[in-house]
């Protein structure tokens, strides 16, 4: 994991003091509401329906156990005892007092954390695969590049006031894409060229929101050392030419589409030709130095066959189910990647209590070299556990409520905070998630259904990524009443075939949603061939079969 040096500490300390001064000037009336707004947003501070919401950055999802404990302490001291993991791997507090925020930031700084640029029209936290560095099929560990991007983007003086927010994701895996990479403003895919050198395929102009668009490749191969100058060139073009009159047309995806990806790429290349050899060009020494922060932990030489583990698998169906769904293969023999499922009925997806945060820290210390990771699907990963420890982890996780073996299944939903918390939402999303969780609580049925991404957003801004859910649910407002539009066929898990879902038809009242979902699942079960996944059945039989049945008049 990256460790701060004196420079990093100084920069974050200076930021805390700057924000303290800004907050004081706001309270003194020297900063207007409008002027304070982008300053607090760039420190992750929203003003929501109930109270301010503070979003803390978790760079590319990495958390050390002392950071988890600090988050727990903050949840207790300044919030109502819980925190929320977002779909962009960050952590949110829903109830802090504005006047306390400088102090919270100061406390976060003591454990090398901050809220820099977690909101506002600037470059946001860079996200990546939660299995980075431990999974098969990886070109290289993407995290050194994520950290290089984090530092470059932090207080980038030219890009603090972009037309709109700007999100970058990095994927290094050739087998699957766990971070919905191609629906980001820029997505970087690590690749090797014919000479075996590392570089990036650069994709620009993806995004969700009102106009979901899959990004376009603007450069097939960018040498790794040119990473920052090329990003500078892309964003410099966007900063000058992006739409600043209409915020719904301000994302880079609209610019790339309007210019065409080819023309946009030409503009970027032209700009880049002037700056590619500047001092911002990376050096092999820097890349090596950054890689040294993400070396392998002290793995033991283990056999991949662990008899005790195999015996427990045969003995306990519950354990076997959990392993099947929530444990992934690790690149090292005898190790595994365990995901703690933190979604359960009665709790908003992504919510954890202070005690749960501390429990995660304890599990990380005991079993996974003191580190944990947050995921795009709002779960927590222990990335380096021994297979021989899995049974003990399962038992402890079960006790803490983290062991629902539903990873990737219907009830492992992505869900935004929705109308219960968010001022933008048209409709509530958490109660819908809750109803779904309660209705579909038969774990054997869920396992039988297999992998289904169900994503729920409370409005067009699509924070719940409904467009790329195999089943997407979008809250809409019809004359003051909450309705829900359902889409099918979205897919974000594939490297080259990210797909945006299509709308099933007219929207439904909230109390109809669960029944409609039930019908959709029944149609799938009737039509699937062998072990076919929901998305594959849908792609084979098409929308019409679903549409006819769901909207058939009862007779």
């Amino acid at each position: 994991m990256y460790v701060y040096d004196d420079y990093d500490h100084a920069i974050i300390e200076d930021r805390v003091n700057q924000f303290r001064d800004q907050t004081n000037r706001y309270f003194d009336g020297k900063l207007s509401e409008e002027e304070f707004l982008p300053l607090r947003l760039q420190n992750g501070l929203y003003v929501q329906r109930m109270a301010p919401m503070l979003r803390v950055a978790v760079p590319y999802g990495m958390l050390a156990s002392n950071q988890l404990r600090k988050l727990a302490e903050i949840a207790r001291k300044y919030d109502k005892g819980y925190a929320h993991f977002s779909t962009r791997q960050n952590v949110q507090f829903n109830w802090p007092e504005l006047a306390d925020v400088p102090e919270i930031l100061a406390e976060l700084a003591t454990v090398e954390m901050h809220a820099v640029q977690t909101s506002g029209n600037c470059i946001r936290n860079t996200t990546t695969d939660q299995f980075a560095g431990v999974c098969h099929g990886e070109i290289e560990d993407p995290r050194p590049y994520c950290e290089i991007i984090r530092q470059w983007s932090t207080f980038h003086p030219e890009f603090a006031f972009l037309p709109r927010k700007f999100k970058i994701a990095v994927n290094a895996n050739t087998l699957s894409d766990r971070s919905a990479t191609d629906v980001h403003d820029i997505s970087l895919h690590l690749v090797k060229n014919d000479a075996g050198e590392t570089g990036f395929r650069v994709v620009a102009g993806g995004g969700l929101g009102r106009t979901p668009i899959i990004g376009s490749t603007i450069r097939e191969y960018l040498p790794a050392e040119d990473l920052l100058t090329y990003l500078d060139a892309i964003i410099r073009v966007y900063n000058q030419k992006g739409n600043r009159l209409n915020k719904y047309k301000a994302r880079i995806k609209i610019l790339v589409k309007a210019l065409t990806p080819e023309v946009f790429a030409e503009l970027v290349e032209e700009e880049w030709s002037h700056i590619k050899d500047s001092d911002s060009k990376l050096t092999p020494e820097l890349i090596e130095k950054m890689k040294s922060y993400f070396t392998e932990p002290a793995y033991e030489a283990l056999s991949d066959n662990n008899e005790a583990f195999e015996a427990k698998l045969a003995e306990s169906k519950g354990f076997a189910n959990w392993v099947k769904r929530n444990v992934a293969e690790h690149k090292k023999p005898g190790y595994a990647v365990a995901t703690l499922a933190i979604k359960r009925p009665g709790h908003a997806p992504g919510d954890v209590t202070d005690l749960q945060l501390e429990k995660i820290a304890d599990l990380a210390d005991k079993y996974s070299f003191g580190e944990a990771r947050t995921t795009h699907e709002q779960n927590i990963v222990l990335a380096d556990v021994k297979k021989s420890d899995l049974y003990a982890i399962w038992e402890e996780a079960k006790e803490a409520g983290f062991a629902t073996p539903n990873l990737g299944l219907l009830t492992d939903m992505i869900c935004c905070p929705g109308g219960d918390y968010c001022a933008l939402a048209n409709a509530k999303s958490i109660p819908v998630a809750d109803e779904i969780m309660r209705r579909f609580d038969d774990i054997d049925y869920l396992h039988d259904l297999g992998d289904i991404d169900l994503n729920i957003s409370g409005c067009m801004n699509a924070c719940g990524h409904h467009h790329v859910g195999n089943i997407g649910i979008l809250g809409v407002d019809k004359k003051g009443e909450e309705f829900y539009q359902i889409s099918l066929g979205g897919d974000s898990g594939k490297i080259t075939d990210t797909a945006i879902g299509k709308i099933l038809g007219p929207s439904f009242k909230r109390d109809e949603v669960v029944n409609v979902l039930d019908k959709i699942l029944n149609i799938y079960v009737e039509h699937r061939q062998d072990d076919e996944l929901f998305i594959d059945t849908f792609n084979r039989i098409g929308m019409s079969t679903f549409k006819e049945r769901v909207y058939a008049k009862a007779n």
Partner: protein, 164 residues
């Protein structure tokens, strides 16, 4: 007289900003900052004056300044709203692409909390909005001891310094 931050101190600004210019008007005498298009339209007559500066609106391309940068008193870039960040890229192009070394002034919605970024991008004078305390705004330049990325004020990114 309005206040101006120049060379990190507050001075009186004796240039008059011509915000609007109607076609057919005579260009006033004295120290003025003209809209760049007005200057370009009357370049032949104005080129000899050393008391005429020009300003660029945020929706105009920085390229308009390229040819005339060295014949005007100085260049200014307008920030119609502080959240309109185009001027930051313009400043870098003016400095780094056009190699302009004269005074580059930020005008418009110029506020304390943006000065650090403006200075890093190449602005060296700042017409702080008149209802704000320019003296207090000076502390913006002390906000950060270090920066990660290279910019106009210091092209060398922190990673190069760390590697020694």
């Amino acid at each position: 007289m309005p206040k101006l931050i120049k060379n990190r101190s507050v001075v009186e600004d004796d240039f008059v900003l011509i915000k609007e210019f109607n076609e057919g008007d005579a260009v006033p005498a004295g120290k003025i900052i003209l809209p760049v298009q007005v200057y370009l339209d009357q370049r032949a007559e104005l080129a000899g004056r050393d008391d005429v500066a020009v300003w660029l609106e945020s929706d105009q391309p920085a390229e308009l300044l390229k040819e005339i940068a060295d014949e005007v008193a100085f260049l200014a870039v307008n920030f119609p709203k502080f959240a309109d960040g185009r001027g930051y890229s313009y400043a870098r192009l003016i400095r780094e692409r056009f190699n302009y070394t004269g005074e580059l002034r930020a005008i418009g919605d110029v506020l304390l909390d943006q000065l650090h970024f403006m200075a890093r991008c190449g602005f060296d004078s700042f017409a702080v909005r008149e209802d704000r305390d320019a003296e207090e705004a000076l502390k913006a330049f002390e906000a950060f001891r270090y920066s990660y990325q290279g910019a106009n004020d210091d092209p060398s990114p922190l990673f190069r310094k760390r590697l020694g």
